[in-house]
Symmetry: C2
Subunit: 452 residues, 2 copies
C-alpha cells in the first residue's frame, strides 16, 4: 500500500468520552478510577494494531452552566471526574509494548521545564511511544482552580503556547543522542561536550537547563493538536504531527484537511508530515439493524442537561437561563448558528428545541457516528481516507471498553483484508507507526516556530 491508514483510540481518564452517556451503558466499565480499565482498553487497541491511545484532559468541574457544580456532578457530564492522564499513561507504558500513548497537557497552567520532563520521562518509560496533545486551555473554571481569575485572551494563549513549545524543544535538545557514556570503569557518566544549558529568557518563561532527563528514544513526543480557529489552525500547521479533528460532515472534514495541509506547506513543511485524524463514534453489529439498534440504545441514554453543560463550556455561554422546550429558532446566541445548523443536519427533525440540542450534544459533542456492519463501517472509513478527508481516524467510545472490542474484532480485520491497515506493527515507536521520520529539534522546527 502506498498510503497507510492510521487509527487511534480516544479516552478521557474518566467515566465518559465525547459520549456523555458512555458511563450509563449497561456494559460500560464502572471502575474508571483503577488501572484495570485503562489496561483493558490499551491492550485491546494494541491487539488491533492501533497507532495510539489518546487521553484528553480537563482541569476543572464545568461550571459555565448556571455557575454551579451541583448539576454537572449529578449528571456526570464531561470533566465531572477525571484522573491525571500522565500517570495513567505512564502506567500503561509498563503493561503494553507497542501502542503509542498520547496525553494532553495544557501550556497555560504549568512551566515548560516540568512538562518537558514529564514527556521525556514518558518517552523513556514507553520506549519511544509518547505523544503530547498541546492544548492552550480556554476554560474559566480551569483558570479558577489554578489561581487565575480569568483565563488569558485567545491570542495571548497562543503566543504563550508558541514560546512554551520553543522552550520544551530546547530542553529536549539539551542532551545529544549519544551524550550518555556510562563507562563504569573510567567513571565517565556523560560526555560534557554533548549536554548544554539552554539559557532561555523569553516573554513568558525563563529556564537555564539542561533537562534532568537524557535524550529520549523519539527525541521528543509526537506533537498532537486540535486547533480549529484560524490562529489555532496555523499553530497546528506549524507544530503538529498529528491533528485530532471534530467535524460532523464529510464536506467539513475535506475542507479542514485541505486548509491545514496548505497552511503546513506555507510554513515550509511537507504536508505528509501532518497526519489528520477526524473522530467518530462507531456502532458496529453483525447486521446493520443490530448496529442501528445499538446506536439508538446509546443515543437514548444521553442526558440533555449533561450536554448543555458542555455546550455552555464550548460556547462560553450559559444555557441554563433558557426554557428547555423553547424552539431553537427563538434562541439568538452569538456564535452558535453554525453549530445549531449542524445539529439540525445531524437530527431528523427540523423543529429542534434546546432539549434536543442538549441531547444531541450529550451523544458525542456532534461527532459523526459511523454505523453498520464491519463492511459498512469500513466503507465509510475507506471513502474518507481515499476521498481526501483523513490520514486516519480517532475512535471515540459509546461505551468502553465495548466499543473498542467491537471495532477491533469486527472492523479491523475488514480494513486489513482490504489492505488499508497494518496486520502487524513494523516499528516500535509512535513516530514509526505514524510513518514520521526522525524528529527535528533544531533548525527546521525552530524556523517553523517563528510567527510568519
Amino acid at each position: 500500500m502506498s498510503r497507510e491508514l492510521h487509527l487511534a483510540g480516544f479516552l478521557i481518564a474518566s467515566h465518559v468520552t465525547h459520549s456523555h452517556a458512555a458511563w450509563r451503558h449497561p456494559a460500560s466499565e464502572t471502575d474508571y478510577l483503577g488501572p484495570g480499565y485503562y489496561q483493558r482498553v490499551a491492550r485491546t487497541l494494541e491487539r488491533g494494531k492501533f497507532d495510539f491511545l489518546f487521553f484528553a484532559d480537563l482541569l476543572a468541574t464545568p461550571v459555565r452552566y448556571g455557575n454551579d457544580i451541583r448539576v454537572p456532578l449529578q449528571s456526570g457530564t464531561q470533566a465531572s471526574a477525571t484522573l491525571d492522564p500522565s500517570l495513567v499513561a505512564a502506567g500503561l507504558a509498563n503493561v503494553t509494548d507497542r501502542i503509542g500513548l498520547a496525553i494532553t497537557k495544557s501550556t497555560t497552567y504549568f512551566h515548560p521545564y516540568e512538562v518537558a520532563r514529564i514527556f521525556a520521562t514518558l518517552d523513556h518509560l514507553s520506549g519511544g511511544r509518547a505523544g503530547w496533545n498541546v492544548v492552550t486551555s480556554l476554560n474559566q473554571a480551569e483558570a479558577q482552580n489554578f489561581g487565575a481569575q480569568d483565563h488569558l485572551g485567545h491570542d495571548e494563549r497562543y503566543e504563550r503556547a508558541q514560546e512554551f513549545l520553543e522552550v520544551a524543544y530546547k530542553l529536549w535538545g539539551s542532551w545529544d543522542t549519544d551524550a550518555l557514556v556510562r563507562d563504569k570503569v573510567s567513571g565517565v557518566f556523560a560526555d560534557p561536550d554533548k549536554v548544554r544549558t539552554v539559557d532561555h529568557e523569553g516573554t513568558w518563561f525563563k529556564t537555564r537547563g539542561p533537562l534532568t532527563v537524557p535524550h529520549s528514544p523519539q527525541s521528543r513526543p509526537v506533537i498532537i493538536q486540535a486547533g480549529s480557529s484560524p490562529v489555532g489552525k496555523d499553530f497546528a500547521a506549524r507544530w503538529a504531527e498529528a491533528i485530532f479533528e471534530i467535524d460532523p460532515t464529510p464536506e467539513g472534514r475535506r475542507a479542514y484537511y485541505d486548509d491545514v495541509k496548505s497552511r503546513a506547506v506555507n510554513f515550509g513543511r511537507n504536508p505528509d508530515d501532518i497526519k489528520i485524524f477526524p473522530s467518530f463514534v462507531p456502532f458496529v453489529g453483525e447486521t446493520e439493524s443490530i448496529a442501528r439498534e445499538k446506536q439508538a440504545f446509546h443515543n437514548e441514554l444521553a442526558d440533555p442537561i449533561s450536554g448543555l453543560i458542555t455546550l455552555s463550556v464550548h460556547t462560553d455561554h450559559d444555557f441554563s437561563r433558557y426554557d428547555l422546550d423553547a424552539p431553537l429558532e427563538d434562541l439568538v446566541v452569538p456564535g452558535t448558528q453554525g453549530l445549531f445548523d449542524v445539529a439540525r443536519r445531524l437530527s431528523a427533525s427540523e423543529n429542534l428545541t434546546l432539549r434536543d440540542i442538549g441531547k444531541l450534544y450529550a451523544q458525542g459533542v456532534l461527532l459523526p457516528q459511523f454505523v453498520g456492519t464491519a463492511e459498512q463501517v469500513a466503507d465509510q472509513i475507506e471513502a474518507g481516507f481515499t476521498g481526501g478527508e483523513a490520514d486516519g481516524y480517532i475512535l471515540s467510545a459509546a461505551q468502553a471498553p465495548g466499543t473498542f472490542h467491537d471495532f477491533v474484532d469486527f472492523v479491523v480485520p475488514e480494513l486489513q483484508r482490504r489492505g488499508l491497515f497494518r496486520t502487524e506493527y513494523t516499528g516500535s515507536t509512535l513516530r514509526d507507526h505514524l510513518g514520521l521520520g526522525p524528529a527535528s529539534l533544531t533548525p527546521a522546527a525552530r524556523r517553523a516556530s517563528v510567527v510568519a
Copy 2:
C-alpha cells in the same frame, strides 16, 4: 509483637542513590531510563514485604560546584540525570499489588491543584498505596530551571509549604467518601450534596475546586517529610506520618527521635502516628569478611569530585575553589564544622583532606553503613528499633537492585525469625502497612496546621 518494625527502600529515578558510586558497581543496572529496573526493585521489595518504595527527586543538574554543568555530568553525581518519579511510580502501581509508592514533590515550583490531583490519581491507580514526600526545595539551580532567579528564603518556603498542604487537604476533602453514586439507570453520577468547592484564597494560592478526582482509597497520600532545621522539624512534627532521616550516629538518631516525637506531642498529636525512618546503606554477606569486602569495594568506587558537588549543594558553598589535598583543618567554611566532625568520626583517619571528605560524601552522603552477616545487620536494626532511635529504617542501595536482593534474601528472613518484621502484608494500603488509622482531612489536621 507489640511494636512493628517498618522497612522502606530509597531510590532516585536515576543511576545513583545516596551512593554516588552506585552506577559504577559492576552488577548495577545500566538501563535506569526504562521501566524494567524500577519493576525489578519494586517486586523485590514487595517480595520482602517492605512498607514502601521511596523516590527522592531533584529538579536540576547541580551547578553549585564551580557554577558548571560539565563536572557533574562527567562524574554522574546525584541529579545529573533523573526521570520524573511520579510517572515511574504510576507505572509501578500497575505491576505491583501491595508495596507503598512514595514520591517527592516540591511545594515550591508547582500549584497545589496539580499536586493534589497527581496524588489523588496515584492513590486511585495504586489502590491506596500513595505517599508524598513533601520537600520545600532549597536549591538555586532548581529555581533557575523554573524561572526564578533565586529560591525563596527558608521561612518563606515553609510558610508556602504550610499553605500548600492546607490547600491540598481541602481539595482531597472536596469529595466525600461516598459521593460517587454511579447509578446507570437513574443517571445520577454523584451526590451533589457530597462534593463542594473549596474557595481557597490565601497568601500564596487561590483555588476554587472541587478536585476533578473523587475521594481516593486512603483519602490522601501518607505525608512524608525529612525536616532537619528547627522550623523543618516543627513542620514535620505537625504534618508528617513518616519521617525520613539521615544521621550517621546512634546518639544523633536517638536525639532526633526524641526531639521530633516531643514536638509532635506539643502539636497535640499521638507520637505513634509519626513513624521515624533513619536511613542506612546495608552491606550483607554470607560471612562478615565478605560483607566488609563488599563495603570496601563499593567505597573505593566513590569519586571525590562527585561527592564535593553534592556537598556544595547541601552546604550552599562552592568547594571547587579549594585545593583537594588541603587538610580539612585549614578550611574555615561556616556551617560545616559539625559535618566535618561527623566525617572524622566515620573515617578511621584524623588527618582528613577535602578529597577524603569528597570521597566519604560520595559513598553515601554520610549515611551510616550497616555491615556484616544477616545476623549482624539484624542486630544493628534491632538495637536501634528497641533502643529508641527508629520505628523503621529506609535502606539506600550501594548498587541496585543487588543491595535490595541481598537484604531481602538474607536479612528479612532473620528479622522475621526474630518476630520483628511481618511475614505477610495484613492490609492493602500504605496506611495499613504503617499501622496508621484512617487519614484525617478535617478538624484534627486543620488544627495541627495552625502555626503555634
